[in-house]
């Protein structure tokens, strides 16, 4: 959607309603977090179609073995067809057993460029692939605009495209939160220099989020000292995200890189196993840090720009593909099940004889989740994902 159309739509509705916010959804205490795996994670080696002989034929050196309690390197059974990577045994598998995580296979976009950067943009913008792009309008920013009382934030060092919009959304790198050196008086004077300037809102937001983050995380050092091992890397970041979302923010985005496994990606162990293990520990840590009450009001979606080639390549890795497997988790998600449509995997059911087809779009999955969690109507969804008709994935 073009920026102008967005303005027109908004203004049109505002004029019809009594106040500018009258069309917004009611305030809720729900929280929504999107985690973007940048680089195109190799979905079928993480949520594995272990029923499929074709999978084993296609991946002679990197496939994960069928479930077998005697083999620690074997996949963990999810349902009759699908299994989970063994590196997720102590983190994600317990969530599956508690029915707090669902997987959506054959998920993705209708962007066929197989370009990381193009397809990441496609998802973050959430616009229709056909037609010109408006880089100033990301779908998370439009979603924030549909919620009264939304408190959006990006847990990224640079502002992500998905929050590009008319208002400055704060971003903060949770990996490094230190005591600020610029004191309050200096901060107020710096803010004054930006009065009336294009960056005014961003400067003000920056100081506000800096102070909130510092006070929310100040207790962390004390808590960490009681643990024998303090978390690091993604788990540390995820726990900090949980603390901030508990107290201050309800609409959030974060990203995790390092999934572009063209060479020697490994199987039950190796590069991808390490990476996915970290991700799993982080997500389990996030749920733990939030506590049962907040976790039951939280929905997390894990997505990636595309899946990879179904067949392994000549270097024991995989190249850019299409369909992926998305994750939906939270304390009150209807989990413990595979959601969305599926097709039996075989050479002739692949997309371009190369990679997974897409049967569930990221737009329809996210639209369904946010409409249920935040009480949004089709009219709201028209503004978040123009052209998207609500359909149910029974995830909530």
């Amino acid at each position: 959607m073009r920026r102008r159309d967005f303005l027109t739509a908004t203004l049109g509705l505002s004029a019809a309603a009594v106040t500018g916010q009258a069309w917004s959804a009611p305030a809720t205490d729900q929280r929504f977090l999107v985690i973007f795996l940048r680089g195109g994670y190799d979905a079928v080696n993480v949520v594995i179609p272990t029923y499929s002989d074709f999978y084993y034929q296609s991946r002679p050196t990197i496939a994960i073995a069928r479930p077998d309690p005697a083999n620690p390197n074997a996949a963990l059974p999810l349902d009759n067809d699908w299994s989970l990577h063994p590196a997720l045994k102590d983190s994600i598998y317990p969530l599956w057993q508690k029915k707090q995580i669902a997987f959506v296979p054959f998920a993705g976009t209708d962007d066929m460029t197989r370009s990381h950067f193009e397809t990441q943009d496609t998802i973050e913008l959430g616009q229709l692939v056909a037609g010109p792009r408006d880089y100033r309008s990301g779908f998370m920013a439009r979603l924030a605009g549909q919620l009264s009382g939304s408190r959006p934030i990006a847990f990224t060092s640079q502002p992500p495209l998905t929050f590009h919009g008319q208002t400055a959304v704060p971003n903060i790198s949770v990996a490094s939160v230190n005591k600020p050196g610029v004191d309050d008086r200096q901060a107020r004077l710096i803010e004054q220099m930006y009065k009336g300037q294009a960056l005014q809102a961003a400067v003000d937001e920056g100081f506000a989020v800096r102070d909130k983050a510092y006070s929310a995380l100040a207790g962390e050092m004390i808590a960490a000292n009681r643990n024998a091992v303090s978390p690091s890397g993604f788990e540390l970041a995820a726990r900090r995200v949980a603390r901030l979302m508990k107290t201050d923010y309800n609409l959030a985005f974060m990203d995790v890189g390092g999934w572009d496994t063209h060479v020697n990606q490994g199987g039950a162990t190796g590069v991808l196993a390490d990476r996915i293990g970290q991700l799993g520990r982080g997500l389990a840590g996030l749920a733990d840090e939030m506590g049962p009450d907040v976790w039951s009001k939280t929905t997390v979606v894990v997505l990636s720009e595309f899946g990879r080639t179904f067949k392994e390549n000549g270097d024991k890795g995989t190249d850019h593909g299409h369909g992926s497997v998305y994750w939906v988790l939270g304390g009150s998600v209807r989990g413990g099940r595979m959601a969305g449509d599926q097709v039996r995997l075989a050479a002739d059911t692949l997309n371009d004889r190369r990679d997974l087809r897409v049967l569930s779009s990221y737009r329809s999955i996210c639209a369904d989740l946010v409409s249920r969690r935040f009480g949004l109507t089709q009219a709201n969804i028209d503004r978040v994902f123009p052209g998207e008709t609500l359909r149910s994935f029974s995830l909530t």
Partner: protein, 503 residues
């Protein structure tokens, strides 16, 4: 042709006493904003030089830099002393490889660990030396535009140093593949970058062989280096291109591989780059409708030449140049630049000349948000106004903290060029923290490794400030500066001001 046109416009501008049609009048009232954009940031010397020559002659000199332009002697001495300057790259890479292997073979665990960390330290140093040399040139080279373009093209042909042994190659990649061509012909730059061992390693092409196709590199050449995504190539083109690229790799072995007699004539070795015909797919390919028969390495080189001539490439490169220099890519300007690019056989200086003489460029002066490298380099240039620093370590740390480490971008797309990428709320507070640090003292910039710290203080209220900057500050900025309680705090506010955050 283009030069004559410029002269004519310049003459017209002189007669009119203003600057119609895009040329800069010789009597431009203030060259400082132009210099600030074309260089790594204003200094007294660079502004005085542009004023002495007049903007048109100065720009021409920047676009066509003289090879003799020298760095200040103490700076050149710092660079000359680096291991990356004294040792040829091929030897460096081979030596480091041997050191790493020897360390791994040690039996005693403690000895092995010590040897392995010595190896890691040496590799880390090689990367840091390259970054140091790059920053010293950014700070002090008279050929400022060439150094800005060196950063731009490195970013365009991005490699990440920490993959495999690229740390030992990255200095050579910047110095030999990128920098000499930064203002030259795009096709020369393209071939130099895409055949460099650092790039071949980074995009895994050293593992792309007939029967073991890895299409990573093929896709990025089409998408990022040349034509741009959605510009008309297909998945089929990517797959065919990957076959063209088979056998182009890196070898640390001084001897050629054993080859069948009929393959030997196709073998090519240039430094560490090796074309191994035994790994090449000699079958016929078609890329973008162009038939390529099996001739070995020349298939790749001629395909790159053909890609450099594509209108889509001209447009893609012009768009990125416009984004880098003015923060926007208006279609009319991109069209004009693309036309220059195609007419001049991809001449980068000519294409930039079109950009610099556009109304959009002039209107954008002072309005482009500085990215982290520009922010840090321009602060140090201004604060010490030509006095050479002795250690780039603090600058590297600052740039890292702002998220734009030299040779640190993991993905091949390079860092974003758009203003929005570098002006989010989190980024701005990080900049203000740095403003405080840069403004409060010399932070070790004048302490050579293992030497005595020389006294120094950032002098931002210098002659240039009183002569040029002061009167252009907004009333709000002046009000804040007036409330500073110390020189350090004054510097903090100045380095945090909207005027300094833009160029």
């Amino acid at each position: 042709m283009v030069a004559r046109q410029t002269q004519l416009v310049l003459a017209a501008a002189l007669i009119a006493g203003s600057a119609p049609g895009g040329a800069f009048a010789a009597s431009t009232p203030d060259v400082a904003p132009l210099v600030d954009r074309v260089t790594w940031g204003d200094t007294s010397q660079s502004v005085a030089e542009a004023e002495r020559l007049g903007p048109e002659r100065w720009l021409k000199q920047q676009l066509h830099p003289s090879a003799q332009a020298a760095l200040p002697a103490p700076v050149q001495a710092q660079i000359d002393a680096l291991r990356i300057s004294t040792t040829p790259v091929a030897k460096l890479v081979v030596d480091m490889d041997a050191q790493g292997k020897a360390a791994g073979k040690l039996q005693d665990p403690a000895e092995r660990q010590a040897a392995q960390s010595a190896y890691q330290k040496a590799m880390y140093d090689l990367r840091q030396q390259a970054a140091s040399r790059s920053l010293l040139r950014d700070l002090y080279s008279p050929n400022q535009l060439q150094e800005q373009m060196t950063w731009f093209w490195f970013n365009h042909f991005n490699v990440q140093a920490d993959k495999r042994d690229i740390r030992a190659m990255v200095g050579d990649y910047e110095d030999q593949a990128i920098r000499p061509h930064a203002l030259g012909k795009f096709k020369d730059l393209l071939k130099a970058a895409d055949l460099h061992p650092a790039m071949l390693r980074y995009l895994d092409n050293d593992q792309n062989a007939v029967g073991h196709i890895n299409e990573n590199y093929a896709r990025e050449i089409l998408e990022l280096h040349t034509m741009g995504v959605g510009s008309g190539y297909s998945q089929q083109d990517v797959e065919q291109m990957a076959r063209v690229l088979t056998g182009v790799g890196v070898s640390l072995n001084p001897d050629p591989p054993k080859l069948k007699p009929q393959q030997q004539g196709f073998y090519v070795r240039r430094g560490l780059m090796e074309f191994n015909p035994a790994r090449h797919d000699f079958g016929e390919k078609v890329v973008l409708g162009r038939k390529i028969s099996g001739t070995g390495l020349s298939e790749f080189e001629s395909t790159l030449d053909a890609l450099a001539r594509q209108p889509a490439t001209a447009k893609h490169i012009s768009t990125k140049l416009a984004l880098y220099f003015i923060g926007d890519a208006p279609p009319a300007l991109v069209d004009k630049m693309s036309a220059t690019f195609l007419r001049s056989d991809g001449d980068i200086a000519e294409t930039l000349n079109t950009l610099f003489h556009s109304d959009a460029f002039r209107a954008s002066l002072g309005r482009k948000v500085k990215d982290p490298v520009h922010y840090v380099v321009s602060a140090v240039r201004l604060a010490y106004d030509g006095r050479p620093i002795a250690n780039t370590g603090p600058m590297r740390g600052w740039i890292d903290r702002l998220g734009q480490s030299l040779y640190g971008r993991e993905t091949p797309d390079g860092y974003p060029l758009e203003d929005t990428a570098w002006s989010g709320p989190g980024q701005l507070t990080a900049i203000f923290e740095l403003a405080r640090q840069i403004g409060s003292g010399s932070s070790g910039l004048f302490k050579p490794d293992g030497g005595e710290d020389q006294p120094a203080f950032p002098q931002l209220q210098n002659a240039l400030y009183y002569a040029r900057t002061k009167d252009h500050l907004s009333p709000q900025t002046q009000t804040a500066l007036a409330q500073a309680k110390s020189p350090a705090e004054w510097n903090t506010f100045f380095l945090s001001s909207p005027e300094f955050l833009h160029r």
